[in-house]
């Protein structure tokens, strides 16, 4: 066995470039697939991010003619769709792919081939979306990429209003990437339930793995309505069905319900993983065990349950009955309770610790502040009458970018700095990391803090231009400057990754003095992860090893 492994490692080093690329294409290794998900996600993050910068440049001044309306509408559709399905989902499932087997002491996910299948479905689905820039014209010459918005409200997506094939590319791309995500979900649940190492009861799983399971169940529940709706829309467009075709008696609201039954849980599918990252990183850099492990896990499960019953808070303005509005306002506000518990428990973890302000911790602390603000603006939006004013304005845009960037992207960066040494064997440069953090923090706040006020001043979202004299000029100019600064920060990050891959400091197996199982194996881990199956006695096996006189299992 040992010999075989040594042999394959030597062969690999000697393979020519093409052979090594081929290795990546045919791989079923969870670590390689995880890295491919993350790498692919970062690629689309840059593309969709540049589209956002173009939109911000167009909106920097009133009555601007830099980007024509239809091109702008394509940007906003592609930016939204890509950031959710081509960036958030793959990066987070990529992390789960990479981390879950390592953290539960397994050698791979339960179904490696299914994992590979899921990745390639996602990959080609993602390409399909951007291929619409080339193929979307169809026979009509009716415009390339989809321009219907990321939630694509019917009947704007029907043949009458969306000619050509752009919307079809949008439908098929989302359908394929959703199937890929379902495969990942099945894999994560099976791995976490059936392949934990000796001694790791469910109550001793790392928080990340718990939250991976929660998210996987949410994917299994939330993605089918989306896929069903996409099929119905495809039938409308090609087979003359009339589900959403209002001109033939279809229902525009039906689409909204289908979409948000998926769409709201989706927000939590994106944010719960980063709760997991925070629950690993904050304890390690505070040098303290997570405060209230059981409550942290229970709160996440509660969020998952409640999030399945809040979708119509996206629809307070569609003319629901007062009882309907009150119900969804109530369920939405209830999310605040478990979310609050999580924030308090993170503070409880920091309290009394010895905080090391390394880059992953900087990002995590910024996450705590920004996520708190995002939660509070979320409560304002849950106040249904207030939402009648705020919905579909830049206030909403600012709110959900506080969640998606202020919380999720910040924590993805934190996780990148934290686990990069594990995946590559080299540290990311600390100094470049600091520059990245401060630039990104300043850019983020310059962009999204003013946009709350633009929304309150009556600026609807998704407008390609606005007129002078409405008090929107200054806010938008600042926001655009911030967007450019954020782009520069991401450039610094890319430079850091490239630089550190080549010349980064050697990391060793456990650079952060951390406590979960992945840090007990080499960096990067060998293909088989662990030479012998580990055995654990507590939630922090490496703490027990490092402190044999004061192990965790005495107290848990």
């Amino acid at each position: 066995m040992e010999q075989e492994i040594a042999l394959s490692a030597r062969e690999q080093a000697e393979l020519p470039l093409l052979g090594r690329l081929h290795e990546w294409v045919v791989t079923v290794d969870h670590k390689r697939l995880g890295l491919m998900y993350i790498g692919g996600g970062l690629l689309f993050f840059v593309v969709a991010g540049l589209q956002a910068v173009m939109m911000r440049l167009q909106l920097a001044v009133p009555d601007n003619h830099l980007v024509p309306p239809q091109v702008f509408n394509r940007f906003l559709t592609m930016h939204g769709t890509a950031m959710v399905f081509l960036v958030g989902m793959p990066i987070l499932t990529g992390y789960f792919n990479y981390l879950v087997p390592l953290m539960v002491g397994a050698r791979d996910l339960a179904f490696p081939r299914l994992n590979s299948f899921g990745f390639w479905l996602w990959f080609f689905g993602a390409l399909l979306l951007y291929f619409s820039y080339i193929g979307g014209d169809g026979l009509y010459g009716a415009g390339s990429a989809p321009d219907v918005g990321w939630f694509a409200y019917a009947p704007l997506t029907e043949r009458a209003f969306s000619r050509g094939n752009s919307t079809d590319y949008w439908i098929l791309s989302i359908f394929l990437t959703s199937v890929g995500s379902t495969a990942t979900a099945v894999n994560i649940i099976t791995t976490a339930f059936c392949m934990r190492c000796r001694g790791m009861t469910l109550g001793k799983m790392p928080v990340v793995v718990w939250l991976a399971v929660v998210v996987a169940f949410m994917m299994l529940l939330a993605l089918p309505p989306l896929s069903a709706a996409q099929v119905m829309l495809l039938l409308d467009r090609f087979a003359g069905a009339h589900f959403f075709d209002t001109q033939a008696g279809g229902s525009a609201l039906l689409w909204q319900h289908f979409f948000w039954i998926f769409g709201h849980p989706e927000v939590y599918i994106l944010v719960i993983p980063v709760f997991g990252f925070a629950s690993e990183i904050i304890p390690v850099f505070s040098r303290k065990v997570i405060f209230g492990y059981q409550v942290m896990v229970a709160a996440s499960i509660a969020i998952a349950f409640i999030s399945m019953g809040v979708w119509a808070h996206h629809m307070f303005a569609v003319g629901m009955t007062p009882a309907g509005n009150a119900f969804f306002a109530t369920s939405t506000m209830l999310v605040a309770v478990p979310t609050g518990i999580k924030i308090f428990n993170w503070i409880g973890t920091i309290w009394g610790g010895k905080i090391r302000l390394r880059v992953p911790m900087l990002f995590s602390l910024a996450f705590l502040f920004q996520f708190m603000i995002a939660g509070l603006t979320g409560i304002m939006l849950a106040v249904a009458p207030f939402d009648w004013q705020l919905t579909d304005t830049y206030f909403v845009v600012a709110h959900f970018h506080y969640v998606l960037i202020g919380a999720i992207v910040f924590m993805i960066f934190a996780a990148s700095y934290y686990w990069f040494p594990k995946a590559t064997g080299r540290m990311l440069n600390e100094r470049l990391g600091q520059v990245h953090f401060w630039l990104f923090l300043i850019g983020f706040h310059l962009t999204f803090d003013p946009l709350h006020f633009a929304g309150i001043h009556g600026m609807p979202r998704r407008i390609y231009t606005y007129q002078p004299g409405r008090g929107l000029e200054g806010l938008n100019l600042i926001a655009s400057i911030g967007a450019v600064i954020q782009a520069l920060a991401v450039l610094v990050f890319v430079i850091n990754v490239v630089y550190s891959l080549a010349w980064g400091e050697e990391a060793g197996p456990d650079p952060w003095d951390a406590w979960t199982l992945e840090w007990s194996t080499a960096s990067p881990p060998p293909e088989y992860n662990f030479a012998v199956e580990p055995e654990v006695y507590s939630r922090r096996p490496l703490w027990d090893l490092k402190h044999p006189d004061d192990p965790d299992w005495l107290y848990e």
């Binding site: 321009d147 918005g149 003319g319 306002a329 905080i355 579909d392 998704r462 008090g471």
Partner: protein, 361 residues
């Protein structure tokens, strides 16, 4: 392995970068600004107060504002307390140099504390839910009094059709309503429908937004207390020109509104000049109605009293002679993507048609 803690000196570096970036971006923005054009809307919009939801002039908007301030106060309070706690714990518990040897005491949790920070948020949420529900019912369950003004607003790609069913008035993009005296309230109730895709009717100073959805009739109401012109805008993405689907609500004293009604109910002056002949012999009549003439199209805005409106292109430009000529020549110059085609008229014909439209008071 432990790198030294970051020092303030190191953080100064990104700040210098940012200053440089700001200068560069400022120059780029100024250059773009210079290239931008303005159809007279800057001056016109500056005359109107910004459509700010915290400066309401009508009953549902007042109710919403009160509730909004309450929600903001609660959230700001929470933000201050939690933010201060977080900031304090970060500053207080930073690891000091030379103190890295020993790990801090490990605390696994505390049932009483965790119980407390579950119950307190629950109580806050409970109060917020009750106040929210009360306002929802006050606004949504209101019943129209018999003397309420009734208006049908129909969303089109990318303009608003406005009908006063009882008064037999059809107009577009500018809604006239009487001011409501609190002693004898005359609220306005709007039925919202769509001719094509989903839109959303939003005049922030008068009320919250209500979606305008095809195959569905939504209702909302306003009760303006102060005369003035209030800016509104479509708030649901509805295609290419969603951004330039604006509307104005003109709130007038009752007597003035009665005059406006009387003027709108008249048919247009029947002149028989060249502009009218050109208008009636081109495709204009397929989409536009001018009462008292053969033009009876329903696809575009009713032009019977065109000159009673301040703007053209649903608020895309001021209704001036120059803008009108540009619009007739090629609407895409002002509103690219607008569904009105270029009519390919000669300059002389454009002048004539503009002259005719300008006679429609």
């Amino acid at each position: 392995m432990e790198l030294p803690e970051s020092t303030p000196r190191r953080r100064a570096r990104p700040l210098r970068c940012i200053t440089r970036c700001l200068v560069v971006i400022g120059i780029v923005a100024a250059a773009t600004c210079a290239a931008a054009s303005d159809w007279g809307m800057g001056a016109a919009n500056s005359r109107l107060a910004p459509p700010d939801m915290f400066n309401p002039v009508s009953t549902p908007a007042y109710d919403i504002e009160t509730l909004a301030w309450f929600a903001i106060a609660v959230c700001a309070g929470i933000a201050l307390v939690v933010g201060a706690l977080l900031a304090y714990s970060i500053i207080r518990f930073r690891s000091r140099a030379g103190d890295e040897e020993r790990e801090p005491p490990q605390v696994y949790g505390s049932n009483p504390i965790e119980f407390a920070w579950t119950v307190v948020p629950l109580l806050i949420v409970f109060v917020l839910i009750l106040t929210t529900a009360r306002t929802i019912y006050t606004v949504e369950a209101a019943i129209a009094p018999p003397n309420a003004i009734r208006i049908r607003v129909i969303g089109h790609q990318w303009w608003w059709e406005v009908r006063y069913p009882g008064l037999k008035i059809v107009t577009a993009n500018e809604i006239h309503v009487p001011v409501s005296d609190p002693a004898h309230p005359t609220p306005t109730f709007l039925d919202l429908e769509s001719a094509d895709v989903a839109h959303s009717f939003w005049v922030p100073r008068l009320a919250g937004k209500t979606d305008v959805i095809p195959n569905r009739r939504n209702t909302m109401w306003i009760e303006p207390r102060r005369p003035g012109v209030y800016l509104g805008q479509c708030a649901e993405f509805c295609g290419t020109e969603h951004a330039l689907m604006l509307l104005r609500v003109v709130v007038e004293p009752r007597a003035q509104w009665d005059q406006w009604v009387a003027a709108q109910q008249k048919t247009a002056a029947a002149s028989s000049d060249r502009g009218r002949r050109i208008f009636e012999s081109t495709a204009c009549v397929n989409c536009h109605t001018i009462k008292g003439t053969v033009a009876d199209g329903r696809f575009g805005p009713d032009l019977t009293h065109f000159m009673s409106r301040e703007t053209i292109g649903s608020g895309a430009a001021m209704n001036t002679h120059d803008n009108l000529r540009i619009w007739i020549k090629d609407p895409a110059v002002i509103k690219p993507g607008a569904l009105m085609p270029r009519m390919n008229l000669s300059d002389a014909d454009i002048d004539a048609v503009a002259g005719y439209l300008e006679s429609l008071h």
